[in-house]
């Protein structure tokens, strides 16, 4: 039998055709709902109108972004989104930390108890070190999603109360209104693209830093 690396692409496909077929529905799914919308990002760089569609509308370069930046909208949306997220990071991860504590080996605690460690010492020397990986990974996820706001919360509580927008409008609610109420797809897409790019850069940078300090904790 040949070594795996010696096989041609076609042979690899043939040998693993069942496994490939098993992955096919998921691959098609992500293609249809996550990759197909990507070319549509182009709408952020045009002045969209229905008649001409995304790729027929007039190209305006970075005008949509410039307008959002100069009106201060982008800054205030980013500020609101990030500040609310920072406030929610602690609350939201309560369950995950609880579950991680449940997962700590009970015998380790017993052993410490037998050796005469008191409650605070057991927390300091067993529970906290055991929680370190969980907390680091949770923080990584939280940082990665720091520009992704909680749409349901803000949309349902604030609703269309425009008096509150300066302090409660987050990126998600702004994009939703621009898309569904104002049909302003170019502006909505510009804000969405800005959010995606910032999120992507933050994940990459944080992951790179973590990898240098503690490779085991890096996401990829």
């Amino acid at each position: 039998m040949k070594r795996k690396s010696d096989l041609t692409f076609f042979q690899k496909v043939k040998r693993s055709r069942t496994l490939l077929l098993m992955c096919t529905p998921a691959v098609l799914f992500f293609f249809a709902f996550n990759y197909m919308p990507l070319p549509g990002i182009w709408v952020a760089f045009v002045k969209y109108n229905y008649r001409d569609g995304i790729f027929g509308s007039r190209f305006v370069g970075l005008d949509n972004f410039k307008f959002l930046a100069s009106s201060g909208k982008l800054l205030s949306l980013t500020k609101n989104t990030i500040l609310y997220n920072l406030a929610f990071i602690l609350l939201g991860n309560f369950l995950a930390v609880f579950v991680a504590i449940m997962g700590i080996d009970g015998e380790m605690m017993e052993a410490a108890k037998v050796d005469g460690a008191n409650g605070f010492q057991r927390i300091r020397y067993i529970i906290l070190p055991s929680l370190k990986p969980t907390i680091v990974i949770l923080l990584l996820f939280a940082l990665g999603g720091i520009v992704k706001g909680n749409f349901g919360l803000f949309y349902n509580i604030v609703g269309s109360n425009s008096i509150l927008y300066t302090t409660t409008d987050i990126i998600e609610t702004y994009v939703y209104r621009a898309t569904m109420t104002d049909f302003n797809f170019s502006t909505a897409s510009a804000v969405g693209l800005y959010q995606s790019v910032i999120g992507f850069v933050i994940v990459m940078v944080v992951n790179w830093v973590v990898k240098r300090i503690e490779p085991d904790y890096a996401l990829f």
């Binding site: 496994l19 992955c23 998921a26 992500f30 249809a32 709902f33 995950a96 449940m102 995606s196």
Partner: protein, 307 residues
């Protein structure tokens, strides 16, 4: 909780507690009690308000125990009949979506952790990448409406919720816990990959299927976002949570409208209707928890490991 843990806790309780243990336990009990109260009180208020007379709510606010018991709100909500169609729709969506999604997620999760699958890393990255970068709402909306023509189509609600990269990664980690030797033994006995998956792996994945199935089912049951995007007023029957959302909005709109100033709205049990809707919409899914709870803690722990 396993029997071993129970024994340990019992023997721990019999040991004489040190000062530090008393402080920590005391703090723990106080904290957990407060947390539990904070979680439970809103539920009690919702249930109680749904049974309270509107006049009492208006003058005295929400109560923990209904002061004037009435079924008026439930009569109003159920009387129109439309909520039962919403129920049916949500149940159909939940069952169909969870079944389909769960089978695809399980198959993919198994294939992606097979060490002898040469495209494992490429496909894993292809799926993981979607969490790193996305096109955003506007291009997605345009694609769904203009290219796929899914406006006012229930498929627009059913399909997007069927899986997520996070759930596939979770499933992959579950499958990893099953020894590779099981697949090997199946191969030696001459079973194909799909046969190995169905007959050997799937029965061992019960905790995974319960956990991920619960996530999926909750996702469908609580769905309102895709409905708000794609189901316009042309669609008569909408998923349960979105129907609830519309009822709340309609009452508010009526209250704020010009007509609202001339109709005596104090007769409309608006607050109790909202709460009755909330009770009816949350109720059934709560009964799913006891069935999957025993698998649940182990399920979330596996997800905490990166993969």
């Amino acid at each position: 909780m396993g029997k071993k843990d129970m024994d340990m806790m019992e023997s721990g309780a019999r040991v004489k507690l040190g000062v530090s243990d008393v402080i920590i336990r005391g703090f723990g009990y106080v904290f957990i009690t407060l947390y539990a109260v904070c979680c439970i009180v809103p539920f009690i208020i919702i249930i109680s308000t749904s049974f309270t007379d509107q006049a009492v709510i208006r003058t005295q606010g929400a109560q923990l125990i209904p002061k004037q018991f009435t079924l008026q709100a439930y009569e109003m909500v159920c009387g129109s009949g439309s909520i039962w169609w919403s129920y049916l729709l949500t149940i159909v969506l939940t069952v169909a979506g969870t079944t389909l999604g769960l089978s695809i997620i399980a198959m993919t999760g198994y294939a992606l952790q097979r060490r002898d699958f040469p495209f494992r890393n490429a496909i894993s990255f292809y799926i993981y990448f979607t969490t790193l970068f996305s096109a955003g709402l506007a291009p997605y909306y345009l694609l769904m409406v203009q290219t796929y023509h899914l406006k006012d189509n229930y498929l627009a609600v059913l399909l997007p919720l069927m899986m997520s990269s996070w759930l596939i990664i979770l499933m992959k980690n579950f499958v990893k816990a099953i020894p590779h030797e099981i697949t090997e033994s199946g191969k030696i006995d001459g079973a194909g990959d799909f046969k190995i998956f169905v007959s050997l792996i799937l029965p061992m994945l019960k905790p995974a299927l319960a956990t991920i199935g619960l996530f999926l089912a909750l996702g469908y049951w609580n769905e309102w976002y895709q409905s708000s995007l794609f189901l316009s007023s042309k669609v008569e029957v909408k998923p349960l949570q979105y129907t609830l959302y519309e009822v709340v909005n309609k009452i508010d709109a009526l209250k704020n409208s010009v007509a609202g100033q001339y109709i005596n709205l104090t007769d409309v049990p608006q607050d109790s209707v909202k709460m009755a809707n909330a009770v009816l919409a949350t109720g059934p899914i709560v009964f799913l928890y006891p069935f999957v709870q025993k698998y649940f803690i182990s399920g979330i722990t596996v997800g905490a490991v990166k993969g």
